[in-house]
């Protein structure tokens, strides 16, 4: 019988953590994160002088890698047993909802002038890397909540 995939394989704090498994699942997300953060954090001013085609490629590239990431995530969750698949899907739903909530709240507060959209000039909720970071943090938080029920 094949060993089922475990959520702990991609959690760096757990003893079952496997760098190989993590990269297999989240490698494409890391690429999207690097491209997005590089264009936002490391050279936000220079990029504005680049040709439109180049800027378009950089802006769209993370989304292509996000699609590949979703595909890898789906395949990985299919290899889990039923309990872990249930926990993981609940955690993913929690992460997506929490991210939507945070980004929407941020925009509403920015709109009424309470919060600046580009907090400290870096944490812009429009950036893919900020959205992915919030999503990753809320996934692990959600996973801990849903996993507790079955321990």
């Amino acid at each position: 019988m094949n060993k089922p995939n475990l959520p702990d394989e991609i959690d760096v704090r757990k003893k079952d953590y496997s760098f190989r498994a993590d990269m297999k699942v989240n490698g494409w997300m890391l690429v999207a994160l690097i491209i997005s953060s590089a264009s936002d954090v490391f050279f936000p001013d220079q990029i504005k002088a680049w040709p439109p085609a180049c800027r378009t490629i950089i802006a769209v590239a993370p989304f292509l890698f996000i699609l590949l990431w979703v595909r890898a995530l789906t395949r990985w969750s299919r290899g889990m047993d039923e309990l872990h698949r249930r926990i993981t899907l609940s955690a993913i739903m929690f992460a997506v909802s929490a991210t939507f909530f945070v980004v929407a709240l941020w925009h509403v507060l920015a709109k009424v002038g309470i919060w600046r959209s580009g907090f400290l000039g870096v944490f812009d909720p429009n950036s893919v890397w900020v959205i992915l970071s919030v999503m990753t943090a809320s996934y692990f938080h959600g996973h801990r909540i849903f996993n507790r029920r079955y321990q």
Partner: protein, 63 residues
């Protein structure tokens, strides 16, 4: 859902990991079923029934 999984497993001197491997699930899943925190799906319940060579209703009982 009440079940006799722990009783059947210990009678065969299997660890939770052994049973998990035979059923193709994780040890946490076996533990969650044994402690009645998680109700298995029908395919998994049938798999357990086949493994122990017992009718499904002799392993799992409704509330």
């Amino acid at each position: 859902m009440k079940n006799r999984l722990r009783e059947l497993r210990t009678a065969r001197e299997w660890s939770q990991s052994d049973l998990a491997e035979k059923l193709g699930v994780s040890r946490q899943t076996v533990n969650a079923i044994e402690t009645e925190r998680y109700d298995p799906s029908l395919p998994l319940a049938f798999k357990a029934a086949r493994l122990f060579r017992l009718p499904i209703e002799e392993i799992f009982a409704g509330e």
